[in-house]
C-alpha cells in the first residue's frame, strides 16, 4: 500500500469527522477568509451595489490619499503613542503586582486581594467608562469632591487632553492589572523550589533570591508578554478610546479603529476606510512576525 493510498483510506475512515468540521470551516471561510479577500476593495472605488468585481480598480490611489491626509497621521500617532505609554505603564504593573503577591505569606490575605483585583476585568468598557466618568465628574464625582474639600478647584479630567491620556492609561491598569498577574503568578509557581533552598543555604537574602532566582526564572514569560504587546503596538481595540473619548479630546483620543469606524461606517467612505484597515492589519502582522523572530533569536523561545 502506498502512502497516498494509506492517506486516502484514513480520509475515508474519518469522513464523519470532516463532516463535523463543516460548520467550523464555514465560519472561518465566511467571516475570516472572505473578508481577507474583501480587503481588495481598498484598491477599488468601491460601489456597494456593484461589489468588488463591479467597482472601478484604482490601484494604490486610496493609500496615496491616506498618506497625504493629516488626519490619518494624527490617528496613527495617537495609536502608537497610547500603546507605547501602555508598554511603559500597563505592561510592568501586573508583573510588579504579581511579585508583591508572591511575597505574601498569609494565604488568606493573598487570596482575598487576588479575588478583588480580578473583578474589574469582567466589567465591560461601557461600564468602566461609566464608572470613571462618574468618579471624575467635575461637579459630583468623588475625586473632585475631595479636591474641593481641601480647597482646590475641580479638574476637568475627561476634557483636558493631557489628563485624558493619563486617565486612559490608568483605566487600563485599573481594569486589567489583576487579571494580568495570573500569567506571571503561574510562571512564579513553576520556579523550582530547590533553587530557593540552594540559594538559602548559600546565605542569599530575600532580595538576592528575587534578583537571582525569581526574576531569571520568569524572564521567558516576561519576554513573551512583552513581545505580544510590542507586536500589537499598531492596534487599539475600539471600545476604550471611543467610550472614554469625547469631542474635546479627539486630538489624542482618535485612533485607527475609531477613525475607520467614523470614516467608513458613518461617512460611508468604504474603500478609503478599508485601505486604512488593511494598512493596519499588514503592519501589525509584520510587527508580530518580527517580535516572534526576535524572541527566537534572544531566548530560543518564540510565541509560535
Amino acid at each position: 500500500m502506498t502512502l497516498a493510498q494509506a492517506r486516502r483510506r484514513k480520509v475515508i475512515r474519518d469522513r464523519h469527522l470532516y463532516l463535523l468540521l463543516l460548520p467550523v470551516f464555514a465560519y472561518y471561510i465566511v467571516f475570516h477568509f472572505v473578508p481577507m479577500y474583501g480587503a481588495v476593495m481598498a484598491f477599488t472605488d468601491y460601489n456597494i451595489f456593484a461589489g468588488i468585481r463591479g467597482s472601478d480598480w484604482v490601484g494604490f490611489n486610496n493609500f496615496r490619499i491616506m498618506f497625504r491626509n493629516d488626519e490619518f497621521f494624527i490617528v496613527l500617532r495617537n495609536t502608537v503613542m497610547l500603546n507605547v505609554i501602555s508598554l511603559l505603564v500597563a505592561f510592568p504593573a501586573p508583573l510588579i503586582l504579581a511579585l508583591l503577591l508572591n511575597e505574601v505569606r498569609n494565604k488568606k490575605f493573598r487570596r482575598a486581594v487576588q479575588g478583588i483585583v480580578y473583578l474589574p476585568h469582567f466589567l465591560s468598557w461601557v461600564v468602566v467608562s461609566g464608572l470613571i466618568i462618574t468618579v471624575l465628574s467635575p461637579s459630583s464625582g468623588l475625586v473632585n469632591n475631595i479636591i474641593r474639600l481641601f480647597g482646590g478647584e475641580s479638574i476637568y479630567f475627561m476634557t483636558d487632553s493631557v489628563w485624558w491620556v493619563a486617565i486612559y492609561q490608568l483605566s487600563g491598569v485599573w481594569k486589567e492589572v489583576g487579571w494580568g498577574t495570573i500569567i506571571f503568578l503561574a510562571a512564579l509557581s513553576a520556579v523550582d523550589p530547590n533553587l530557593y533552598d540552594a540559594a538559602m543555604i548559600d546565605g542569599a537574602s530575600r532580595w538576592d533570591r528575587l534578583k537571582h532566582v525569581t526574576i531569571p526564572g520568569i524572564t521567558p514569560m516576561i519576554l513573551v508578554v512583552f513581545l505580544l504587546s510590542v507586536g500589537n503596538v499598531m492596534s487599539i481595540s475600539f471600545d476604550r478610546p471611543f467610550l472614554l473619548g469625547n469631542p474635546m479630546v479627539l486630538d489624542v483620543a482618535d485612533v485607527i479603529s475609531t477613525y475607520v469606524y467614523r470614516v467608513g461606517l458613518l461617512n460611508v467612505d468604504y474603500s478609503y476606510a478599508a485601505a486604512v484597515g488593511l494598512f493596519q492589519s499588514v503592519v501589525n502582522f509584520v510587527f508580530l512576525l518580527t517580535a516572534n523572530w526576535l524572541s527566537n533569536r534572544i531566548k530560543g523561545e518564540g510565541l509560535f
Binding site: 480520509v11 474519518d14 464523519h16 469527522l17 463535523l20 468540521l21 460548520p23 467550523v24 465560519y27 472561518y28 467571516f31 475570516h32 472572505v34 473578508p35 481577507m36 479577500y37 474583501g38 480587503a39 476593495m41 508583591l100 508572591n102 511575597e103 505574601v104 505569606r105 486581594v113 483585583v117 480580578y118 473583578l119 474589574p120 469582567f122 461601557v126 461600564v127 467608562s129 461609566g130 464608572l131 462618574t134 461637579s139 459630583s140 464625582g141 468623588l142 469632591n145 485599573w174 492589572v177 489583576g178 512564579l188 520556579v191 530575600r206 481595540s237 475600539f238 467610550l243 479603529s257 475607520v260 467608513g264 461606517l265 478599508a274 484597515g277 488593511l278 492589519s281 501589525n284 502582522f285
Partner: protein
Amino acid sequence: MATRRDPPTAFDAFNAVLLTLVAVACLVPMLHVTALSFSSEGAILSGRVGLVPVGLQLRGYQTVFASAAMMRALVFTVYLTILGTSVNVMITALGAYPLAKPDLVGRRVIWLLILFTMFFSGGLIPVFMVVRALGLLDTVWALILPGTIATFNLILMKTYFSGIPASLAESARMDGASELAILMRIIVPLSTPIIATLALFYGVGHWSQFFQALIYIQDPDKYTLQLRLQQLITDGVGYGPTVVFGQAEDIPVESVKASAIMFVTAPVLIAFPFLQKHFVKGALIGSLKE
C-alpha cells in the same frame, strides 16, 4: 519568595499596606457609584456624596425598572447571551473534537490556517460587508455569527480534548457509535469543566458586547443593555437620558445614570465568585503551550 525561615521585615508590613490599597482602589469606583445610585439628586449635584448614600432614595432604580427601553434591552440581551453562548459552545466543540485527533489527515494545514486568522484580519469594513451581504444587519445573528468561534477558546477546548484517552472513543467506535454520538455521549460528559469555562467566557463576552451592537443594530427593539447604557452616559451632551427615557419625565439624571450602571453590572457581580474560579483555571490551561 519568602519562606517560614525568613523573619518578618518592614517590607512585609509595607507590602500588606500597599496590596490593601490596591484592593481598595479596585472597589472604590464601584462603591462611589453604588452610593450615588441611592442618593438624592440634590446631594449628588452639591458634591456631598462619597462612599455612603446621602438623602437615601430609590428613584434612580425605579426610573430604570420603569423604563420600557431598558427592560426591552434587558430581555434582548438575556436572549442574545443564552442563544449566542449555546451556538458558540456547540460549534467550538465541533471544531475541537476532530482537530484533537492526532492522525486526522490535513490537521496541520487546517490548524495553521485557523491560527493565521488570529494574526491577520481583513479589517472592519470587509467584515461589515459580509454581514450586510448575508442580510444579517439588524438581527440577533449579526451579534453572534461573526464571533461564532473565538480561536483562543478553540485552542483551550482542543487542548482539553487531547488529554482524554483515545481508547475511550476507540472502543465506542468499535461498537459502531457515530462520531457525533461519541462527541455527545463520551467526550462532552468528560469535559464539563472546560465547557463551563468556555460558556462563561462566551457568556460574559455577549453580555459585555458593545461594538457589534453599535455597528450592526439600528432597530431600537434590538438595542443591547450596553448600548443603552452608553447612550445614557456618554452619548451627546446631556441628550442621553432623553433618548432612553423619553422627554416628558422629570428624572433625577445623575442617580439614574448611577443606577443604570449598577443595574448592568449586577449580574456580573453576582456571577463573579463563580466566574473567577472557572476563568482563572481556563486562563491557565491557555498558558500551556501546544
